[in-house]
């Protein structure tokens, strides 16, 4: 996350006096009968690293291409620095884009690729050379300046594409699945490199990705999209801990979802709601800041790592259920236990493997207890 110091948290979206760099106002985009973007309003602020996250076909790329100028909204306005950018063609916008395929010019060297945009601005030669050298240093490509794109590796090509799009010092940099073509290890390293470069240059980044882990790692805020709509716009921790809907909870990370009927119990504490979720089982005690009516349908969402697994019934637990271990997924650092409850529900519980696997307390078919606190999960309307 792009926060300069722990004392002063970077959160311009909470400051009403801050003017956004980009503002979508009721933007809709239709392709024929198909609505790609459905009435989106969104503000993105200076120096933000903003992620558009969603499955393929959710409209995130269309939203980005409208910022770049390759698509125009069917309805609504897009403001950049309070200026409507609809009539500005892509080559006149202070916005640059890093393409998913990188779109490096194969007939030009790395140096010429980076200089391409600067030359179009007719800058003096020495200024171009200085700027290209700076970009090469920033992306650690000095050694490859004379090479052609087909003579360097995928990771290096990715850095050339980044250097080229940053060279003109745009107000806004758009990154379309920038790490999609890299293997996992390189992708993780590059994520931190991207954050580092974003911080150094102070440029506002908007990244499009379908990889939730990537969005969580790099972004200051994440917008989760589904079928052309924004489902939730919030910081990664808010999205993860308090998802706004079952869709978000399910899309981001791993989650257990239990359906039931809500009963508010204000006498037990503020925001306390019980969820009757199965015959013969005690209700789930949860805390929520949403208002639920008695008997309203609701989903209880809880992350596997917030479910504790123990051999006996824990003494002090707001919620505890008995079950039988169905499956164990051993991932090295953590293990995920699939526990079948008498009701037939399968709940996932995750624990860190602090001990060697030979000394593991549980194995298949073991009777175990699952427990969690009243605030560990969230209650969702659907």
């Amino acid at each position: 996350m792009a926060q300069p110091s722990p004392q002063q948290v970077f959160a311009p979206w909470e400051d009403p006096s801050e003017t956004p760099l980009i503002e979508f106002r009721g933007v809709t985009k239709r392709f024929g009968d198909f609505t790609a973007i459905d009435d989106i309003s969104l503000s993105i602020f200076r120096r933000e690293f903003f992620a558009l996250l969603g499955p393929s076909g959710c409209g995130k790329t269309t939203l980005m291409r409208m910022l770049a100028g390759f698509e125009t909204p069917s309805e609504g306005d897009i403001l950049l620095d309070r200026q409507d950018i609809a009539p500005v063609p892509p080559n006149k916008r202070a916005v640059n884009m890093m393409f998913q395929s990188y779109a490096l010019f194969p007939h030009l060297s790395v140096w010429e690729n980076i200089a391409f945009g600067l030359k179009r601005d007719r800058l003096p030669k020495d200024e171009i050379a200085a700027r290209v050298t700076e970009m090469l240093r920033l992306t650690r490509l000095e050694k490859f300046a004379r090479r052609k794109p087909h003579q360097i590796s995928g990771g290096q090509r990715q850095r050339v594409a980044l250097a080229r799009s940053l060279a003109k010092a745009p107000k806004l940099l758009l990154l379309d699945e920038p790490l999609g073509a890299l293997d996992k290890k390189l992708r993780q390293d590059t994520q931190f490199e991207l954050m580092d470069i974003q911080e150094k240059t102070g440029t506002t980044f908007v990244i499009v990705t379908h990889d939730q882990e990537e969005a969580m790692t790099v972004a200051s805020r994440v917008a989760v999209m589904d079928e052309g709509r924004l489902v939730q716009v919030a910081t990664p921790d808010v999205i993860y801990e308090t998802p706004a809907s079952v869709y978000v909870a399910d899309f981001i990370g791993d989650v257990n979802l239990l359906e039931g009927r809500a009963t508010p119990v204000p006498e037990a504490g503020e925001g306390r709601v019980d969820l009757a979720w199965a015959e013969g089982q005690p209700p789930i005690r949860a805390t929520t800041d949403r208002a639920f009516d008695k008997g309203q349908q609701a989903w209880f969402a809880i992350r596997p790592e917030k479910v504790t697994i123990t051999p006996g019934r824990p003494d002090e637990a707001a919620n505890a259920v008995k079950g039988r271990i169905l499956d164990i997924a051993y991932l090295g650092n953590i293990s995920t236990y699939h526990v079948e409850l008498p009701t037939g529900h399968v709940v996932k519980a995750q624990t860190a493997n602090t001990r060697r696997i030979a000394r593991r307390a549980f194995t298949w078919e073991d009777e175990v207890w699952l427990s969690w606190t009243a605030t560990a999960g969230v209650l969702l309307e659907g």
Partner: protein, 297 residues
């Protein structure tokens, strides 16, 4: 090892039988002298006389005909004029062919096979018939003049047939597919996001075309130009059917030497020099192809 040698031997044997041996025969005739006999040149190789016959045969060969080519300015003028006509026609074919190839490459994918077939379609009709058809179009009573007079654009028919203009039209028409196809091949595989990237970096549509599309289709342009230029230099049918008395092309001279003058040695010498002239662009063409293969790595 042996298998590889055998594999390579097949194309080389092919080249030897169909290219090198015929060329040596032509060269041999070119080094001979004109004679009133059948065949119309001397000396002829008589193997029955053994070594002695071989020696008298080689003693009879000389470069007399090649020297003759330099004495008459007809020949070098014909060579020069052929290169000029071929070069102008190539430039015209490029000017016509590039937009067609570009349009094809930008057409919807489901239309491309149809468009490709339309480009190749003329090959299904005899080349000779298609050239004759142009006589019907270009002659003073032809369709073109009738249409132009009918539209009131001209009063008297234009004399196009039997001029160099008609030859250019004929060459461009005939060889256009050879220009379109290699350019189409390079444009078709071009990634369209490159143009978006160029625009994103500050290019207008027009400058993106000149700075990205044209350089990336360079190998196709070069290939297309050679594929038109090389056969156009030696073209005989088009200048003799569509060209006039002032059209001077080496293919026509060659024909006249062979069939009108029956001077096989001079005709062979003309053909040999033509081949040497063509070797230069062919070598350049090969080098372009190789460079492209290397670039694609």
């Amino acid at each position: 090892m042996l298998r590889r040698a055998a594999l390579i031997a097949v194309p080389y044997a092919w080249l030897l039988a169909l290219f090198l041996i015929p060329f040596l025969i032509v060269l041999k005739i070119a080094l001979s002298d004109y004679a009133l006999s059948i065949p119309p040149y001397a000396p002829t190789l008589d193997l029955s006389e053994g070594w002695e016959g071989l020696r008298t045969f080689f003693a009879g060969l000389d470069f007399e005909t090649f020297r003759f080519l330099t004495t008459d300015d007809l020949y070098w003028k014909a060579y020069l004029s052929s290169v000029w006509i071929a070069a102008v026609s190539t430039a015209l074919a490029l000017a016509v062919g590039y937009p067609i190839a570009y349009g094809m490459a930008r057409a919807a994918p489901e239309w491309r096979p149809t468009l490709l077939m339309l480009v190749i379609l003329p090959f299904w009709t005899s080349f000779l018939i298609r050239v004759y058809a142009w006589i019907g179009i270009l002659s003073s009573e032809g369709y073109l003049n009738q249409i132009l007079i009918g539209l009131g654009l001209i009063d008297a028919p234009l004399a196009i047939l039997n001029t160099n203009v008609a030859v250019h039209i004929g060459i461009v028409y005939t060889y256009l597919p050879f220009m379109i196809l290699p350019i189409y091949a390079t444009l078709e595989k071009m990634d369209e996001s490159l143009l978006e990237a160029a625009e994103d970096l500050g290019c207008s549509r027009v400058s993106a075309f000149w700075r990205v599309t044209v350089p990336l289709s360079k190998s196709g342009i070069i290939a297309g130009c050679f594929l038109v230029f090389i056969p156009a230099i030696g073209e005989f049918v088009i200048p003799s059917l569509l060209g006039g008395s002032e059209t001077l092309m080496i293919g026509k001279v060659l024909w006249e030497e062979f069939f009108n003058n029956r001077d096989w040695p001079v005709a062979s010498a003309v053909a040999t020099v033509l081949l040497l002239i063509l070797v230069i662009p062919i070598v350049l063409f090969q080098r372009n192809e190789q460079k492209q293969r290397e670039a694609e790595g």
